[in-house]
Point group: C2
Chain length 469, copies 2
Amino acid sequence: MHPKIIPVVMCEGAGIGLWPVSRNTMPKQFIPLFGRDSAFQRMAKLLSDATAFDRLIVVASAEHRFTAADQLQAIGVKAEIVVEPVCRGSAAAVAIAAELGLARDDAALVGVFAADHVVQDGRLFVETCSKAATVAAQGGIVTIGIPPAYPATAYGYIRPGSETAAGAHQVEAFVEACDAVQAARYLADGYLWNSGNLIFNAATMRAELEAFEADVMASVGEAVATGSHDLGFLTLEPRAFAKAPKASITAVMEATEKASVIAGPFGWSDVGCWSAVWELSEKGANGNVVEGRGYVFDGANNLLRSEDALLAVVGVDDIAVIATRDSILVVPKAKAGKVADVVALLMANGEPEACSHREIHRPWGKYLSIDLDRRHQVKRITVKPGGVLSLQKHHHRAEHWVVVRGTAEVTRDDETIIVHENESIYLPIGCVHRMANPGRIPLDIIEVQVGSYLGEDDIIRIEDIYKRC
Amino acid sequence: MHPKIIPVVMCEGAGIGLWPVSRNTMPKQFIPLFGRDSAFQRMAKLLSDATAFDRLIVVASAEHRFTAADQLQAIGVKAEIVVEPVCRGSAAAVAIAAELGLARDDAALVGVFAADHVVQDGRLFVETCSKAATVAAQGGIVTIGIPPAYPATAYGYIRPGSETAAGAHQVEAFVEACDAVQAARYLADGYLWNSGNLIFNAATMRAELEAFEADVMASVGEAVATGSHDLGFLTLEPRAFAKAPKASITAVMEATEKASVIAGPFGWSDVGCWSAVWELSEKGANGNVVEGRGYVFDGANNLLRSEDALLAVVGVDDIAVIATRDSILVVPKAKAGKVADVVALLMANGEPEACSHREIHRPWGKYLSIDLDRRHQVKRITVKPGGVLSLQKHHHRAEHWVVVRGTAEVTRDDETIIVHENESIYLPIGCVHRMANPGRIPLDIIEVQVGSYLGEDDIIRIEDIYKRC
């Protein structure tokens, strides 16, 4: 018997192929695309199968660590959350996983999984992982290859070689498909999609990284060893980690002789674009998929998604119409792969909606800007039970807070005031203030800002329980 | 020399072919579709040409009388505004015009024009009207026919007969085109589009209406004679007017022997659907038309219009994407004629956005709902200088008002309180209150409503300077 797999979920990437829903401020792995759970939550649930897996480790950016924690709490999954101060590429990410595994057990088997991958058959996924673990336990590095469902050009391919163990094959090459013709040839020749998910003996992985990416392994080893525990997170030591060169794990997988591939026929997608979302969704009448308030009149196989507005699509087929509160995308499903390029152009044009959502998540809750003009802004602020905003002041604006649900505990200079539902409080320019939710239910506040400058950078943080100042 | 034409602009119709921008609460004639002016304002400006026209008369519904007045004031055009208590069809509308004309002058020449028609060449339009007036002065009824620009099936056609005067022809028949083949045949045979715009001798029109629609003429005659002048409007007497049978003026035009047609080659459209808007708009790169924040990537001849959200259209041609704050329409331009049917289906489904805008215009100004939840609503309210809301109370909600621009004079039970910018006031459930703008600049208020029922019908109006209670 080999030890259980230590599953490490990587929450990297912005997933801009799913813009406008997915952006830097809330990337696709944290968004519920099918049903109630996000891809991250689905993956976390799969990796909670105690027959195959040890306690979950989640690697997240500093920006998204609270989102990851909240989403795990919502599904009742306990995990160790490790904060990557910056993103240093897949070699560094795998090195973190190896290092964390070895911290638990010298013989650790580690599985590295992407938070934004969607698996159709969970039972078969766990079985595949277990099979890979048997191979990894012999000191191997096993990559999970996916039997291709179609000649994709968006995925990398693996050419499997001779069988090395039950169901495991040598990796002959990692290749890309330049076009559909080449991809079709790969399919005919039995190539597999490269899912990027790995299961390995941690000691072997460390040795191979030391051999082929020594600087990465050294920096990561130091960053993990000198990381700091705070607010329930392990944050890697930023200076040491930043020294790790940006490198891809594929180079290591190509160089090592320990690599093998196991086919995982469990139905898999990285949900890279809106056509994939349509593929994976349950279809309604005429093949249309409608999330939110939408109607299709005289059209088939469309994907409609609306956060707020009423959406009417008339006389078109095979199109995706995606509407958030602040942005709308219209693209034929067949061209959905172009969206990432479009978002890059929008970013280059300085459009804020390319990167940032109108609803912003914070460790204490979230806020949504509902009205903005030259000299005033209105926000709807939700504070979680126990949530506490930073103690702060503004140079250029006064604020009026109206409590519309729950109870607020407001600090205003030397006072502490309890503000109940249907009560308000005024915060003049320059006063030092803080809002907290001392109650048992979420606190909803309408904030009316009045002033000559309303930017988020006119927040002078004096104290913050989440260490953001 | 004949008298000048008394121009009467009819502001009827909801224009739902231009949904979601045009709806019952703000129909297309009042919406700026090209440039800054609405179709109504452009028409009013054209009809202010003093060489050809007498002082303008505007016929509007009770609901839109203040909008018409505001839009006229904005362009500096003086007019008599006549309020139709209900809509009773085109025969009644023409009867009103004849009656109002005769009230000014027994020999009056009257022109009836639709507020939502768009004219390309204003000089030629005025010339055509003058030519028609010469014929009308001989006791005739002249309809303006448009030389067809393409084989339209959405317009009615006129078959001209022999010439009766310089440029005027007998009307042989009014016909509809069932399909494009028939329409093309009409074009080849020299038929004209029926614009519905008429220029006539008022006494002749009254006589012909008395002959062919006697009940309409009698009811309208009484409703005009017993109408009431108030707040600068002439409101037709509702009971008398309601007795007018619903009838089309076309039946009268077919029956009378006084009708002739004059061709008006001035470029004309009733802007019935979004493809017409694209046709009439100035094109940008690749034939795309973009109003508001929109981008087309890899696409041609599209129409984009967004009130608020960022709009990205990728890889499609010849499509209209129209986004308001609360609704989004996606339709190929070639199918834009179906939109009215779609809106009817949305209405049947009880979707409020089919009829009502989120921004609601009132005689005192306007409001916009910016956040709505089960137990609270936030509105941005703008009150014109001198505007006064009704004295009112609510059974189910308290209100918090924060002034973000201007100065408010607030009545609260027995108090009158001046609330300045960056100040707020609380209105408990059940208190009798009123807001007014005593200042010289618009007053902007953020209203936060808190309560168990937030519908517009929980407004008990006690007093209203606009006579709405």
